[in-house]
Symmetry: C2
Subunit: 437 residues, 2 copies
């Protein structure tokens, strides 16, 4: 979904004007990271790099953008002239989409003249935030689903169009199998799924008539919603009508009531009727907590449709990402006042079997380095992985995550160590700040 | 922000195909409402009608949309042909944007052939949901701000581009004064505001130099961020540099630390220096709870920048809107199975001084009817109010809301009564459903 370079906080533009007016054109590095994981998250999943690359590549001010900025009577004319030909000329380093990450680990770094690197702050944060938020939530659902199929059903309550697209993409990236969002199917190639709503059933004289109409319209796609009036009766009628019209009943969907009991009854009725292949699909207010409980109680569910609580990451609807200046004109810098500790300078993250180390960029340490160069001179330097490839990558990385961390009911902290060299740089930078004051 | 008709759940399209295949072209009415308010909300604010009107007016399937649907091998050819010329031909009734509403009150109703009215479910819900969610959250902030200026600073952590735009618009609608989102300024005409970030300060050799550079670049817009290193020192330096360069210090922004104490110190320093006009702006993790506390502790704050918790409605990140079939072919209908009671038929909401009544559409009852016709034959029937007009409407309606309901710390339920005629219709519909079973 395209937007405009004006999709930014005003201060990014005033600062840019201020930098240029003061002759500040030195290169700077900004890193995007999280100081502390949200209270009920043991890990985060990185996503949204596709959108960052797209926005950096396509960042162009239109004439009407410039006209609007002019109308604010805030910017100098030479600055507005400068914007007309502005484009991103810097470097982008990032983790791969689908990577697992933790506190204090930069997931991406922009290196460019400071007025440029600053400008992208808002848009980059906005895009990585929603995608990583949802990828993380989806990974938690995936971790409890024990191989059952998962579909994103959240579109009606995501926060707008763009979120709807990103929820579909990020949940697929983090282990989901499908989405109900047709546009996400078209744009991202994600499998799309769907059945019928209660209103469809209600529009017919009887439930049986509605089932008949649906099976006749979709003989290869016969999934029926059975809980409009009475769920057990609904299952019986679905069996009856499927037999009558001679069309295989692919599945029944339960969207309300005690789904543990109802799914057991439904399974029994289906099996007794010889419908052993018919799947039971459950939806309605689900999240990782309820899915875990449903499965632990032995409900014979084959697939879950997960909606609102996935699409809004309801138990933790934001992540405190920050985008901080870490180097200016070759010199490591950091902010000190808020009591929120950060480390100066450009960094690399090294993954080892049971811990990560955050080190100074360029230092050699054991483990796999996670940040790689993605763009140079404002251009992508290699082909961007497909969504399927990124999904494979997530699945492989997630399989290596210690099981203890995948618990959804307990806070477990993964060890993220700071390298000696980075600690030393922190001390040095701090003493310089104190000396200058 | 434009999207595609494929921004919908797959089942809306399969149901549409199913309706048409079964010859179901009768008119239907769907109403959008909330059964129960979220646990920490005493009222909701309706917003997003602008987007509903736009999407209903512009709903056209492109050739590539049809091609994609064809590729799914799910739909009949005549159905896909039908979609090529599809457009909305029905009626839309709705409350005005900025209206306060409660449980069981329809905020909008679509009347059209059932396959049409059904199709729009997902997109309408998606759009009204995010805008009303944020308008409600913003109204809560507005209710505790005691006339202090409020700015939306949430863009970096809203759920994507579209949410960013809607948060700016909906918060302005519900009493905010400005946004940091430049594109929202351009598109909606909302006043835009902004200062500088910590990185700007850090990019200069010293805080004083950064202040000097900023004031020189924006002599009419001199708001300085004073908490990068040490807030009290920052205020002193801001005063010193403003005096030195002879540029009025319009404001200082505090973004961290104990803002109650720090704002008192800042006010004292500013007043002593003769800077009585300089405003104190506070930001950083704010919401209605913290703003109430800050003001109750006597902090001399002039304006608040409210970010993430506004932009994600963090304490209540979704509203359980439902879009339900209430009438089919002239006959009132309702869903019964889930234990979630709903009322059948087309309705009207009547507002009285201290209670609302939900009645049958067409019945005459005391109070002001809140639903009005907005579209007919798929077209807008009168000019849509400007955002400023809707904001005025909200302010007027909100001023009439009983003060008790505006409390953010206690659940208070506003009386929503059901008219005798609607109760009777409910009983009649229920007995018919039971008879048919």
């Amino acid at each position: 979904m395209k937007t405009s370079p004006l999709f930014t906080d005003l201060y990014e533009l005033t600062m840019m004007n201020g930098y240029l007016k003061a002759g500040k054109t030195e290169w700077a590095a900004f890193e995007l990271f999280v100081r502390k994981l949200p209270k009920n998250r043991n890990y985060l999943v990185f996503a949204g790099l596709n959108d960052v690359v797209e926005l950096l590549q396509d960042y162009r001010f239109s004439e009407s953008d410039i006209d609007y900025l002019y109308s604010l009577k805030l910017f100098s004319d030479d600055f507005l002239d400068f914007l007309k030909n502005f484009r991103f000329t810097g470097k982008l380093y990032a983790m791969r989409e689908g990577e697992i990450f933790f506190q204090n680990e930069p997931v991406l770094r922009v290196e460019a003249p400071i007025y440029e690197a600053q400008l992208f702050e808002t848009a980059i944060m906005n895009q990585v935030h929603i995608s990583s938020l949802i990828a993380t939530k989806a990974a938690r659902v995936f971790s409890v689903a024990k191989g059952k199929k998962l579909a994103d059903f959240s579109l009606r309550r995501t926060h707008g169009f763009d979120a709807g697209m990103k929820v579909a993409r990020s949940s697929y990236l983090a282990g989901f199998d499908a989405t109900s969002n047709v546009l996400a199917g078209k744009v991202y190639g994600i499998p799309v799924v769907g059945t019928v709503a209660h209103s469809f059933i209600m529009a017919f004289e009887s439930e049986e008539e509605a089932f008949r109409a649906y099976l006749n319209a979709f003989p290869n796609h016969g999934i029926l919603l059975v809980d409009t009036y009475d769920t057990v009766e609904g299952v019986k009628k679905a069996i009856k009508i499927a037999k009558e019209v001679g069309i295989p009943l692919k599945g029944v969907r339960l969207d309300s009531g005690n789904v543990v009991e109802l799914s057991k009854i439904a399974r029994k009725l289906l099996d007794e009727a010889g419908f052993k292949e018919t799947k039971i699909i459950v939806s309605g207010g689900l999240d990782e907590y309820s899915i875990k409980e449903i499965l632990e109680k032995g409900a014979p569910v084959d697939a879950f449709g997960v909606g609102t609580k996935l699409g809004t990451s309801a138990d933790s609807p934001y992540i405190d990402f920050v985008y901080k200046l870490v180097e200016f004109n070759g010199k490591p810098v950091m902010k000190t006042s808020s009591g929120k500790k950060m480390y100066p300078g450009r960094k690399q993250v090294f993954r080892n079997e049971d811990h990560d180390v955050v080190g100074v960029f360029g230092e050699e340490l054991p483990g796999e380095p996670l940040l790689e160069k993605v763009m140079e001179n404002g251009l992508l330097i290699k082909e961007f992985p497909s969504l399927k490839e990124s999904r494979e990558y997530f699945l492989e990385r997630f399989s290596k995550l210690p099981e203890e961390l995948k618990r959804i009911d307990r806070k477990v902290e993964y060890p993220v160590r700071i390298s000696e060299k980075l600690k030393e740089l922190y001390r040095k930078t701090l003493s310089e700040i104190e000396r200058e004051r």
